[in-house]
Symmetry: C2
Amino acid sequence: MKRIITLLAAFSLTGMAAFAQQALGPGTGIISPEINPDHTVTFRYQNRKAVRVQLTGDMLPTQKRTVNYGGREQVMESAGIVDLQEGPNGVWTYTTQPLTGELYSYSFIVDGVRTMDPSNIYQNRDIATWTNIFTLSAEKGDKGWYYEVHDVPHGTVSHVWYDSPVLKAKRRLTVYTPAGYEDNPKAKYPVFYLLHGSGGDEDAWADLGRATQILDNLIAEGKAKPMILVMPNGVYFNQAAPGAAINMFQPTMANSRSQSTEEFELAFPDIMTFIEGHYRVAKGQYNTAVAGLSMGGRQSSALIRRYPTKIGYVGQFSGVVVPEGDDDPALKAVFAAKPKLFYIAVGSADGVKVNSLKLKDYCDQKGYPVEYYESDGGHIWRNWRVYLTQFAQKLFK
Amino acid sequence: MKRIITLLAAFSLTGMAAFAQQALGPGTGIISPEINPDHTVTFRYQNRKAVRVQLTGDMLPTQKRTVNYGGREQVMESAGIVDLQEGPNGVWTYTTQPLTGELYSYSFIVDGVRTMDPSNIYQNRDIATWTNIFTLSAEKGDKGWYYEVHDVPHGTVSHVWYDSPVLKAKRRLTVYTPAGYEDNPKAKYPVFYLLHGSGGDEDAWADLGRATQILDNLIAEGKAKPMILVMPNGVYFNQAAPGAAINMFQPTMANSRSQSTEEFELAFPDIMTFIEGHYRVAKGQYNTAVAGLSMGGRQSSALIRRYPTKIGYVGQFSGVVVPEGDDDPALKAVFAAKPKLFYIAVGSADGVKVNSLKLKDYCDQKGYPVEYYESDGGHIWRNWRVYLTQFAQKLFK
């Protein structure tokens, strides 16, 4: 109760009143996480009554095991868990090994219950679970560096509503326009449509994927072309993300995923029509890119199969449409339209790797030019941020 | 550990791997908060090992006490705290009395430690403190109803960067353009500049204040004019909110407040110049409103004193500039410029009420037309949302 009492005391000093003003208190007074000069990171959590406090997060060595997917043996990984040590005043601490540049996610486990770090305001929501985050930039230009905000020109990030006649609904989009868009009223820009995965929404790539920081930094470094980035909601029966949608629904895999990509595919031209009607767009196949992760990867794969002459660059991150039969006509049409980039990326520990390889092997056999990238790790955001950082640098050049 | 184990099990089933994918688990499986048909609300929290679980929040009766500010006795309030009862499977519960329509904030206190409700993804950050929230709409048109998202046309919410030559910095703004703005390329709109309080930032009014939902709903009901709402960062030495600013700083009262409003006042024309240069603005005094809460109320008060002929509507929520001497020349100039609305609002339990009354009494004595509104409660967001809802309906008519 000590902190609460301190905070209540603070009100009477400041003349502030009532619950909301607890925020006017001094916070926890604990520094966590603390990034040390040697790039080790110290976590601290104050709890005088807890019996056991643990840390789980992707900065810890993963627990590995070998499993069999579709006849292929592969190593699967799951989150590491370590114990914090209790010190004076009930402050529990743990310090990691030196870490490389990355955006890391973590939670505490207090006597078996997942708990947020109350000393760190930075957190991400993935479907129904919040986790704390921090970025570590080991050196300029490493992964972590691209995920951080730097003193570079920043694009505009807008949440806009468009009309989808196909889905008979108003739906929400997150749209990034690059720095300079507002001040160059004659310039036209290519468009990159970026799709989230199951359980996600139109905020996921910006919040979990750091897409706007990655583009700000790549464009400032001259490594990516200035482009408009459009992040739709890929679940055809959801109008918007939690908070922007009607009713405060709790997202689940069930209410935030599309088993079928067809409805979204058929409604995709509604998004292009809105964007081309409301932004200064350089139109045409070679000014149009589509990519996505997991379900969004399958949707990207399906979209270029359905609209081969409209999409010049496709990125299939941890999700693809597997070719049908020995001579898939849709895929033949895709390559007949000569896309400039047909990119497949997946993690070596990802259960969907088998499907990505099926697509790659099929294309290799047919002589279809594809770019295949296999990273370490599984079906996780830290991979999808890497794929986005790679893919964005290959566009519109 | 049960939940973690369940989640890890989920990976092996789905082939998903590693920490981030814990989010692909089923959530807590607990419904909290649950709004019952009689508008009582049931809170649930699962913890098998906790000895005591409490709930604190602004839906509970406040603890009242009388104190003396500036020679005036007034009742101060602080947050109520109640105990949850433990039931089967370590699920702790508490059910409130029937509640009126409102946005409510709460936290659990688990063996003395403030803890988020892991079953409710909805939360707000006020300075350094996250709290869970929920809205309750008792009937159409009550307070809570205006804070919810309804099936009405939605405006666009953009995060844009502007250049401030006065502050020699690029700074971030949150800008709301009303529904229809994009589709009426000839229409021009009045502008309402809305300022946050100490410890806040350019996201505070949208996140904690529900400003965009309030405007969407008021405009849809025909109760407010379509307008552009501009929410700047009022702390002259901060470029942007945490997350959008360089470095993941932890906000505090110290690093997120301006003791002096002068730097912001002098740089305010940079914001107007940017907005008028990049949006379709109906210019002039009677198309310009400024309001703010606490520090932002002082800033609003100071801005109309400094620019009396540029501002036609001013709202001073829980913060004012107290007149100097018997014949304050700045205030005389303000009313010589004939503002259409000079609005002062404060809570009866707010420590700054004494200053608001000084300004009101001074204006009454001078015969300056002011609108004074005194609500219940203290220096809290639930009051500022009410003042915004009132003030926005009086603008540009």
